[in-house]
Symmetry: C2
DNA sequence: CCCTTGCTTGGAGTGCACTCCAGCTCTCTA
DNA sequence: TAGAGAGCTGGAGTGCACTCCAAGCAAGGG
């Protein structure tokens, strides 16, 4: 666990696109009540997947109307943004469920959460390096084909 | 398809670790005859996976002994390195089979192969950007937890 | 000669992450 | 008051990429 850039413990800037994929027209906190199909439009996840995430414990309890329909909040949307990012970077659903459990257990689990995210960050860094290696190989091969094409043209 | 670094069409340098994962003690071309378990050690793929790759047409015809046992060559090892890299970067097996077919069809398919690899390269670049975005989010969250820890320590 | 080790095969099984289905309720509009 | 449309549930189904199994050869050592 190399500590290359030990970030200063000063006010961490919120990353730009923390808001996520296509989280466009959000409502103000207080009247943030999204139906499941609105959340589909906002997150790109399917309604099936949203219900499934809730079933397996990957959502922090979604509000319901008196008739039992889900009403998602801005907090839920933020959570789904994080979940989508973690999924996109290959974190297994089981690990995300574990993280969600830690969140439910409150501030006592801060250290465990930090460890979990730090481990995943290492994974992501390694994946980036793998991808860059492959990029080199792809560049090399593509150049070979391009050369062959140019060579046969004249 | 942004052409950020349009590589010059001059002698493309073979990328360093083109040799791949753990391709250690290779034999010289000519007496390159590896059993399946040697290839397991060399590539990290399982014997099951190697046989399965051959079955689905992802291997360019592996030699056999008179008793029917596989004997892999250095060329096969090179191919497996490429395949492993492509898999690691998320290319579906079906696409790799398609590429293998193109290779079998000979030089007439150079252009198609180039297109296939170029498309995948774009995918890889996009994946890298996604991973970097997530890295920002992870840094942000980890800092929050670290701050909370430091704050409660004093 | 037997036993172990390593390899062979076709086909079945596994794990993950969804994805869909059937049958139901509720609300809204005409 | 009828019908459309959105949402609900538990459970079954899907697709991918392996992964394993059972049964059977072949070679080498004791």
């Amino acid at each position: 666990m190399t500590v290359m850039e030990s970030a200063p413990v000063t006010a961490p800037a919120k990353p730009r696109n923390c808001a996520g994929l296509r989280s466009g027209p959000r409502r103000a906190d207080g009247q943030d009540q999204y139906t499941i199909s609105e959340v589909v439009g906002l997150t790109g996840l399917s309604a099936h997947t949203l219900r499934w995430y809730e079933r397996i414990g990957l959502m922090p309890h979604v509000d319901r109307t008196h008739t039992g329909q889900r009403r998602f909040s801005n907090r839920d949307l933020d959570w789904l943004d994080l979940v989508s990012k973690l999924r996109l970077t290959g974190m297994p659903v089981a690990d995300m469920v574990r993280y969600a459990e830690l969140v439910r257990e409150g501030p006592a689990t801060f250290a465990a959460r930090e460890r979990l995210l730090t481990a995943h960050r290492e994974d992501v860094r390694q994946r980036i390096n793998e991808l860059r290696d492959t990029l080199d190989v792809l560049d090399y091969k593509i150049n070979l084909y391009a050369d062959a094409r140019l060579g046969s043209e004249e």
